[in-house]
Amino acid sequence: MRSAAISARRRFTALAGTVALALTAAGCGGGTGSASADGKVTSITALDYYTDTAEHAQWGARLTACGKRAGVTVEHRSVPGASLVPQVLRQASSRTLPDLLMLDNPDLQQIAQTGALTPLDAYGVDAGGYAEGIRSAGTYRGKVYGLAPTVSTVALFYNKDMLAEAGVAVPRTWAELKKAAAELTRPGRYGMAVDANATFEGTWQFLPFLWSNGGDETRLDAPQAAQALQLWVDLVRSGSMSQSVLNWTQADVHDQFVAGRTAMMVNGPWRISELDKAATLHWGVAPLPVREAGQTVVTPLGGEVWTVPQNSSKARQKKAAQVLACLNDSRSMLALARQYHTVPSRTAVASRYAREVPSMAAFVRSVERARARTGRLGVKWPRAATGIYTAVQAALTGEQTPREALRHAQRIATGS
């Protein structure tokens, strides 16, 4: 008995030792970036959500090149889009944030509010010449925390062959859109497709219709918002748009378009490289229709901003800021824009790009007026976004009229 107790105790000591060792190892694993003996920073870490193999490699190469200029190597990691913010929050609480962090632009204010990011003016990063939309997305309480090399937005993609065959012109107003969509609808094919699912992605696709009509996320119960939602409801009711839009992601909408099951869709330029792969598909892109001729199209601004999180080492932050500045110089902007069919976020660079790549001119024009989702509401945006997709879902299923649905959305947005 006695010997058993001793051996059990010994085993426990061994176990405790192992646990302690494991904890130490985990603690050490936190900050991976290293500094050489004389305190000079030799490597920094970077985190983004470019998990696609090709994209990850391309960004890795870009970060390495920019790191070389700053005299550091960059350890590049990517996590899936949906888990980036939860990951960042975890790292914020354990003080293991990367030196360089990419965020989707509507998330920036939320993360900046936590205090986990540093303002970029402290490092002398040039934040001038940016289009208003992306500047406001990267700004929290008057300070710039994030800069995006390139930005994007949504537009109307259409199948040229289907439009020609039906004798339909590219719609510019909502009335034309409804008519065109109805005429393009055939058995096994719809005229139009959007993403109306119950996520922020559904909200993002509804925004251009809301904003172009003079609607606003601060007044969702206004008639302009109801008119915009009525358009989507009409398209589904008339059978020009599948009821399945309620459950489609943007990727699903793209798949429908490529498979020839829809003649038009709302989507973004990041789809272009995939669309180009479909050899038999002849597609065109146009600004989204507005309710009445003469209204300006206002689309939501998409794009990822790069930030420098709080960190114990000032030297590492400085290096990270240098890499960030390099990612955001005109040369990187142009290269990235060409690679991913996006638009450089400095207006001067964007107009040069529009001259060089005429097919992107439509996007360059709409990005100039594009609005950041957090522009009006800041950190309160997620509530409004939830209200909007809830209203879209309620109206498209026929649970509520667009008016009722949006009145409810306004209550969700204001938290009452």
Binding site: V85, L89, Y190, N197, S244
Partner: protein, 308 residues
């Protein structure tokens, strides 16, 4: 041996040894169950937000999170949906599971192969089966609607995932499909424990298949059935992945359960306090059911003792 031990008071080293044997299990429970549970309860009384992660500041909010979450319409709807989802899933899983278990009790060729194939839904990652179901249930292109149309059961497509009443039925059907293997496996095991001579005796007494099920199988299976049902409830109340993948809680919140609401509050709106408050309601519910389960388990043991 045991009686001898209980007569005298164990010496100190012996008692220490006993505790040392318990220690790993206790440490594990405290670290991985106790700590998160307490943390979740504490969280629900605090105003937790995204900034809390960095600053560590979560001001005490008292019962405010509960006061905001519990009286809302959304909560009532979520409770109703959760109840419908759970009851629907359980009835479906149990009835089909029991039918299959009875079927596999007969001897026929390929019985073993078929029985192991039946476990397939259990082995597939839920995201994979969920995504596949999402495709199959699509109104325009899904195989389910096409089959129904070709068989002239319906004239136009059923909006499986996009109709507000159909969507709940769809996620229930998918969840039934996922749960059948578990029910079949456990109930089949329970059926194996029913002594064959009882069936022979029943047959001699002139009992048909229905009567022998009612008077022999069911009474002896009841304890196992109770365990299956209670575990089923605990598994079903917390289902998150299937709903998120198949409908995402839509359309128009038609498939929002307590679990998906709690997830949305915490991880989409970063309102961890309210998310935790809702999560605690679920924990409480599961806890009550777990107690029922433990009692049912004890009763199962007792009744088996009586039979033997």
């Amino acid at each position: 041996m045991r009686r001898a031990g209980s007569l005298r008071r164990p010496r100190l080293p012996e008692r220490v040894t006993r505790w040392l044997f318990l220690l790993p299990a206790l440490a594990y429970l405290l670290l991985f169950f106790g700590y998160p549970l307490v943390e979740n309860v504490v969280m629900s009384f605090r105003q937790y937000s995204a900034s809390t992660f960095y600053t560590g500041e979560a001001p005490f909010a008292g019962l405010r999170n509960y006061a905001e979450v519990l009286p809302s319409d959304l909560f009532r709807e979520a409770v109703l949906t959760t109840v419908l989802f759970t009851v629907g899933s359980l009835v479906g899983q149990f009835v089909i599971g029991l039918a299959l278990a009875l079927f596999f009790q007969r001897r026929f060729p390929l019985n073993g192969v078929l029985r192991s194939l039946l476990l397939l839904p259990w082995l597939l990652p839920l995201v994979v089966s969920g995504t596949t179901w999402r495709w199959m249930l699509d109104t325009d292109t899904g195989v389910v609607d096409r089959a129904l149309r070709d068989l002239h059961v319906v004239s136009s497509g059923v909006p499986w995932l996009t109709g507000t009443s159909e969507a709940l039925v769809s996620v229930i059907l998918v969840n039934i499909w996922v749960g059948i293997p578990f029910n079949t496996a456990i109930l089949y095991g329970g059926l194996q424990a029913v002594p064959a001579h009882l069936y022979e005796a029943a047959k001699l007494d002139g009992a048909g298949p229905v009567a022998s099920f009612r008077h022999v199988t069911w009474p002896l299976l009841r304890p196992v059935a109770g365990v299956v049902l209670v575990l089923g409830v605990v598994y079903t109340v917390k289902v998150l992945d299937i709903i998120l993948v198949v409908t995402g809680g839509g359309p128009a919140d038609a498939t929002q359960t307590l679990a998906t609401r709690s997830y949305a509050l915490s991880f989409q709106q970063f309102d961890f306090g309210r998310g935790a408050a809702l999560g605690n309601v679920l924990i409480l519910l599961s806890l009550v059911l777990a107690l029922v389960h433990l009692r049912a388990g004890r009763r199962a043991l007792d009744s088996r003792g009586v039979v033997r």
